[in-house]
Symmetry: C2
Subunit: 388 residues, 2 copies
């Protein structure tokens, strides 16, 4: 096991009606806050009444509120800059994201931007390291990205989709009411489920020895996500199933499932290049296409890790050889994706011809991609060709 430091101070408030307490929870968590900027996405937060309830709760608690809607999936740095200008003009002292990963990531990026003299993109292209940020709180409306407990924010700039990670933007307070997920479109449900699974698997596939504890926690979480994800395909308003998914998704990306070992993140790298190339690609659907192909390509690096995955996550038993065991697990994984109505091939993801060389180049960049197997451009090309 590798040495590590772990600290996750996000206050998670979970359960029915929890979003109705937003105002009083903010006042307790951040007594200095006076004026907050609520960031949200499209019309669903308005139509569902969630936005109004949250704003009302904040105003009742004595907070001044300004709102800014319009965050889109694969959120852009241009919109973040607008948020920064607006926040400065309004002199807000914290952000409240009401939405899913795109909204939360936008709020996080803006929280960094407000405290920085240069351009906020500097944090995403590696030109600057954050020194300060306004506090961020969240009311989650889409369980998927895990951004409500994570230190990460991912933003697009033209064709480039890049992430920044800093404890400064880990939300102080995140409110998760699983009832708010009942009205999500099925496609978003499925995409969210593979996204949270990938946050665990990107950490799970490691060559660091030991880490039995972390691995067993990850395997258990993956099993829970799959069995409850399938329940939601049957009944979209299954409150208990949503509790399991909401809880798992929220812990999936807070660092817990990576304790003590090196992480991979190649699949996220490839997917970011894909949805950077075409922003109509939904992140989770991109991952569903990339991950099985990545697995088939990289398992020979450490078959023992994949055999454990096969046994513990997919219950593969029998005395067949390792390669067969692993291929059975990948087949079972694909069959789960299909049950979730997710694409598993590039051709199902987009009608356009995917420029494989360009995507490979964009995802690998100047060095290599990932750690389980350090991928070069040819490796990524092979993975994408297999995914056609």
């Amino acid at each position: 096991m590798n040495n590590f430091t772990y600290c996750n101070p996000t206050e998670l408030v979970f359960g029915k009606d929890s979003h109705l307490q937003t105002g009083s929870l903010i006042v307790r968590a951040l007594p200095q806050a006076k004026k907050i900027m609520v960031v949200y996405g499209g019309g669903s937060a308005v139509r569902s009444g969630v936005l109004a309830s949250v704003v009302e709760s904040c105003e009742k608690a004595g907070l001044l509120v300004v709102v800014k809607g319009g965050v889109r999936p694969n959120p852009t740095v241009d919109f973040v800059r607008e948020c920064v200008d607006f926040a400065r003009a309004e002199k807000v002292d914290m952000f409240l994201a009401v939405g899913g990963g795109s909204v939360i990531d936008t709020a996080k990026a803006a929280a960094l931007g407000v405290c920085y003299e240069g351009d906020v993109w500097d944090f995403f292209c590696g030109k600057a390291q954050p020194q300060q940020a306004l506090p961020v709180c969240t009311v989650l409306t889409i369980p998927a990205a895990g951004s409500e407990q994570s230190i990460r924010t991912v933003i697009s700039n033209g064709n480039v989709k890049a992430g920044a990670g800093n404890a400064l933007v880990r939300p102080k307070l995140s409110i998760v009411n699983p009832e708010l997920f009942f009205t999500l479109p099925q496609r978003q449900v499925s995409a969210g489920i593979i996204d949270m699974m990938s946050h665990i698997m990107e950490r799970y596939f490691t060559n660091t020895p030991g880490v039995d504890y972390t691995s067993a926690q990850a395997e258990a979480a993956l099993r829970v996500i799959m069995r409850n994800g399938l329940k939601l395909m049957e009944k979209i308003d299954d409150y208990e199933a949503w509790c399991e998914i909401g809880l798992a998704g929220s812990f999936a990306h807070n660092g817990y499932f990576g304790l003590g070992h090196e992480e991979d993140w190649a699949c996220h790298g490839i997917e970011h290049a894909l949805s950077g190339w075409d922003d109509r690609i939904i992140h989770g659907e991109g991952l569903a296409v990339v991950i099985p192909s990545w697995m088939s390509y990289v398992w020979p690096v450490n078959p023992a890790r994949f055999v454990r995955f096969a046994h513990e996550v997919f219950g593969v038993t029998g005395d067949q050889d390792d390669e067969t065991t692993i291929k059975l697990a990948i087949a079972k994984f694909c069959s789960f994706l299909i049950q979730m109505n997710l694409p598993t091939k590039l051709s199902q993801l987009t009608e356009r011809e995917v420029p494989i060389k360009e995507i490979a180049q964009a995802s690998v960049g100047a060095a290599t991609l990932g750690h389980f197997k350090a991928l070069n451009e040819q490796d990524v090309e092979a993975i994408l060709v297999n995914a056609r």
Copy 2:
């Protein structure tokens, strides 16, 4: 799943040589700290050189250090009061516990006592609620109590052993170097392992519906603790096995394994009465005697929960009836305890005749004990009689 709030801001610094950075880590986590009071137990921290290394590291980082040794197992309120007086006289602004649960709990209690005009026992007998505490940091030398991440402190006053819980005493920083565990006596290793398992099981046995995520996490952690505990019986300096145990034990009591459901805590209640009656009883050994007998007594309240436990924690399979499945799991649990050289009967725990009525009375108090089955005095008597 029940609504819940969860927030665990303890900074966990884990791995080889981590205790050598204590000073700089404290300065970073608590920049205001100038003078610290190091609390420790007996001679082992001195003989091993850990105390000297930690003090040196703190002084090098510019901290003023005063030390107070002499905490004993089942730590007393008298010693806590001594610590409070000493801390006030020395005007320290934080506590650093170097030890296991008894040392950490003493530091936590003293951290409350310093900020309170009345007697510190008021917090343990329910007369007062903490409003303030000095910060507590820890360097763990015995993985067992999980106090390094928990909000709990347990202190003895004569025959009464009582706990207090408050987020104010959750350690700001806990340093866990598994190499420090190599020299622990085998009896302490085994007692620690059942203690951490019990922190998970006290949460696991619940009648709250749902909670698949939390349950699966708990089951995975229990399996990891058992298989790595057995490794330590073979090889006490197995670093990787100690990493697993150190990590599991540290998360076992921070609240994670109770997310979204009611907890039980009857076994801890009964054991506290036992080791309150005779302070030579080691907490973990007392638990090893109480838990199997408690299980055999309470399972009919919710057989489904125990069947899941049998399947997931002990791998019991087959198509026998539920009662047989559950009894097989309890037998497997006892066999694990025996492999760990732990007592499973009161007669192995103490040579004295256990005053069963008196223990039952002390553990139940004015109301009932536990939640999986709310136990009255007669129930506890029956559990103790079965454990003879």
